[in-house]
Subunit: 334 residues, 4 copies
């Protein structure tokens, strides 16, 4: 870490900062510039909050040098992580398509949708994911069984959301990948419990979380010894109200630079409307995303009030075809 | 609700929208303007998502007419709600000061801090509230007992955070007010369980939540029959990085206009630093806040890495004195 | 327009609103719902501010029905606008690449860069565009002549920035397209003067402007009779600090839906750094952008302090090759 | 400045960074930590962009040590600046009230409003300030003369907006203070010309500008030798749409800490609606603002479409009375 003293800060103020640095187990190097004295601290930054120094008199600024995450950082695995589940690889050359009915209505809807996404080229069935703002129904056994059967019949993996640490045993009993929704990105108890699991986890970025905070949350899972973590851009809050959230496409190269973890994108929940999903899905893959989550519904017109974001069968098939054209520009396939 | 059709939308498109409105149990009134056809729908807006209509061909815009909350709206109790707990009233003429050590270190810290906040004029002791970004320790019995004793000795009420629906029995056994932190504002299961309780709840606004979303979350608690709900501005995410969050002071008059619920402010967690707490606390009271949450520590200099936001004894006493000057401008006392 | 009255608003309040609507030349239709009275107003919304009604007692909400722009709206030209300059078409099947040294250092830099961008496939040379935050040097004759010569030698068009209405004669004497930078998006005098010109204008979106505000600004130019207007996404301010701005890729389909104007993207100024430009450029084209602005420099390593965003020759050539793979997914070429 | 190298960056990469630092005239100090090598650079940071280093291979982060402004920084005048114009002082013990009809309708409106703001206790008449989003009429001689007369008759100073560098001679011929609107905060040519003037300037913060950027803009004026600069918080863009902008009250203590310049607030343009002005005005003064800009209109109900933000006579008088109660909490008067 380093502390930049304000211009004209006197020796007593500088000494007080040095004393506190030493108390916090930092070795201090002092550098006197024309304008500012800078105190460099070599030591443990794990449990350290720069604001603690910035509220001291005479301090202009305090900054960390190390990232607030280690296991999630690129340098931990410079070659990148590939999460392998059966014959599916996420983070490798092939862009993973995860699709399904985010909100479950019944067996026929699940079966029809599983069939159409499998045919179009998806490798993972997503289901039981709750819409933002909706009353949180919790995962239940019959729905998970229904999803499991529909996935297995088509050779798909199953990803389902876990909304609470108490739901882990139930969901992990049926799903291949556990999803943590955006609202739970900083549910640290849930993250800690998922760290003890040995199943892949997909962690969605909160709508007001920075990329750094997303990686800090991933670190909580990795710290428990569960290394099969994927992160997912799900849209951020902005002043622009023409869409629910802004899919922050730039987070994709940002995560790629900072971390070895696979990064996916969820254009369905980000935009909240069918007519914007395909363009944002193409953008995410063109920017380098390792996969997509797409809400698909065999008959969205007939569905309940939440269907505005679901692609229809033909729209989904057309999107996958477009992605197959785009992916080779990055040396990848779909 | 109403649907504005795009300029030049033909009859077939208009009919499709009308058909869907009728399917959703709306009575439709059609109005043909020079530029746009507008379809007004009278009917149930509870379970209705405007995006469902906006993705239809030929539709320019769809809007609700009613608010997405009812029990939380001003019209439900035009005179405003006063939450009464013993002799403390929140939402009345007196501005409530809730203060204490947000992070608990031990008995002597709690006792000293309880003593100083009681002397300065606080009516509620806050403790066991977790810092954003910190590893979520859960509430535990010994800490809650320690806080309870410290509060009772000084005639203070106790407010403590409940981090999870499984923690409600424990925390409600000791605290007079249960706090829902910003990260949990849309933890709908927790909200639903708190609705069944008959104890006051203070609900913090999430860092990227609109005022409307905050009131929708409050509605989840009210719906269960628990009417003693207070909301609390805790800072929003913005592009300005000079403070952790921006305390959105303008949410205070906004909530006052839209809702009957008391609104408080938490300048400590919003700013994250001691040197900005007092100015934002004064601003919140001047804007009409019904109370404040203030992190206070008998000896913050000596404390752990999280102490940057805690006011010292003399700073807190000076702040309360300033608030006593300000409150009469609004016809209130502190 | 519509006015939604608050629940329980009495007749006197309703009458006052009706009176004001009539004063503003609206024909009023009253609709009494179970909860709210809604007053529909048919009439002139051009010079009308909904807030004027929202501050009236008893009013819950007031909304426009028409868009605040007309000539810029999709319905004005449902087929979309193609801007034609010589043999270059912007908004048609071919994605336009505009590239060059955004900051000019001298003749050899301009000549080398013009040569390399022409070879890689650009059709427009951009130059004399100022970096955000930099001291605004104004366009000068010698620089414009130098750019003009470099463009003409390679059969490129020239786009240059106009920073002020007093600069229009000078810049329009040399450039084929006049660019309005993000900081000037709401410089209404400049926009009005450009409306009188008969030369294409590229209007950049301000960093905190909504898509609607961008189109309102375009409307100022169109109103003057200059229909060759293109808009350009240049990044928006957000809480995420890992890049200068967030390129709001979702604005591309949003503009396509709302307007007939061509929409381009400027990933160089949005990201501010070379290592993020290519991924965001690919994303913009995949989302449907009609063209790109790319900062290119023959030797960025040797350049001044502002060179962090300039692509090198090989990086630019590789990017164009990738775009040639991507564009066919949308039925386009590069 | 500092460069933090990525974990595992090899000597060749480190050497390349050192070489570039030396090229940029920095003296380099190398510090080898357990995880990261840090390169400290002592030298000229004026014309230096950290991104230039951050795009180099092996670099994790680059940071300035000095602020990007000098004359505007607190250390330049630790005691703070008081701008004196006649007997009015801004930045001293008395909170300055600047009020008037932001949009001018005619002589009787100006005279009546000047009379009422003078009686209520304002010291500066504001007029000819344009509403955001409105067609920019330029200042004209007759309007300025009318404002001047109305101000002089009541012993008020006059502040008027300058929209363009070409307008400086006209406006400075009549007004005592020249206002730069939020849209022009980064109109560097205007700022440079105002630096040559010897008249006070009030610079409004742009809706997406950081506090640092505001102070950099102030620096442009100060650099020209004009030291009578005041800055003004005017609201920032956020995701919250219940008000036009969020008045960022926290910028007031932030500017106070970083700079010696007086800071005022403009709640009228920030909120855009009369019913929110008073609460935000009180908040700004309670947070430490040196003054307020308030839109007042003798008869706003009768006025044109832009009147939603204007306070009526009685509302303004009541606000000033409230401020007189609040100011003593900060040792000030109104």
């Amino acid at each position: 870490m380093f502390v930049v003293m304000q211009e004209g800060a006197d020796e007593a103020l500088i000494d007080a900062v040095i004393e506190r640095m030493v108390m916090k187990n930092f070795t201090v190097h002092r550098s006197t510039g024309v304008v500012h004295t800078v105190l460099g601290g070599i030591g443990p930054e794990d449990d350290f909050n720069p604001a603690e120094f910035e509220v001291m008199e005479g301090v202009k600024e305090c900054r960390r040098v190390t990232s607030p995450y280690k296991l999630a950082s690129r340098s931990f695995r410079p070659g990148g992580t590939v999460v392998r589940i059966g014959k599916v690889e996420i983070g490798g050359d092939r862009v993973a398509i995860m699709a399904g009915p985010f909100a479950i209505e019944g067996e026929s809807q699940v079966e029809q949708t599983a069939e159409l996404v499998a045919r179009a080229g998806a490798s993972v069935l997503c289901g039981g994911v709750f819409r933002p703002g909706a009353m949180a129904l919790n995962p239940d056994e019959p729905t998970l069984e229904l999803l499991r059967r529909a996935a297995e019949r088509r050779g798909l993996l199953l990803m389902s959301e876990v909304t609470d640490h108490t739901q882990i045993p139930l969901v992990s009993g049926h799903a291949d990948i556990l999803m943590v929704g955006a609202h739970n990105m900083q549910n640290f108890r849930l993250l800690a419990e998922l760290g003890k699991l040995r199943k892949p986890v997909l962690l969605q970025r909160g709508a007001s979380a920075t990329v750094e905070e997303l990686l800090v949350s991933a670190e909580y899972i990795l710290t428990g010894g569960n290394y099969d973590v994927m992160v997912c851009e799900r849209g951020i809050r902005s002043f622009e109200s023409s869409q629910r959230y802004i899919l922050d496409v730039s987070s994709i190269p940002a995560v790629k630079k900072l971390s070895h973890l696979p990064i996916l994108a969820d254009p369905s929940q980000a935009t909240g409307r069918r007519d914007k999903v395909a363009s944002m899905a193409r953008a995410a893959v063109a920017a380098g995303a390792d996969g997509l989550l797409v809400d698909v519904h065999a008959d969205p017109g007939a569905a309940g009030g939440d269907s505005a974001q679901s692609l229809q069968a033909d729209q989904f098939a057309e999107l996958v075809a477009q992605l197959r054209t785009i992916a080779p520009a990055l040396g990848r396939t779909v």
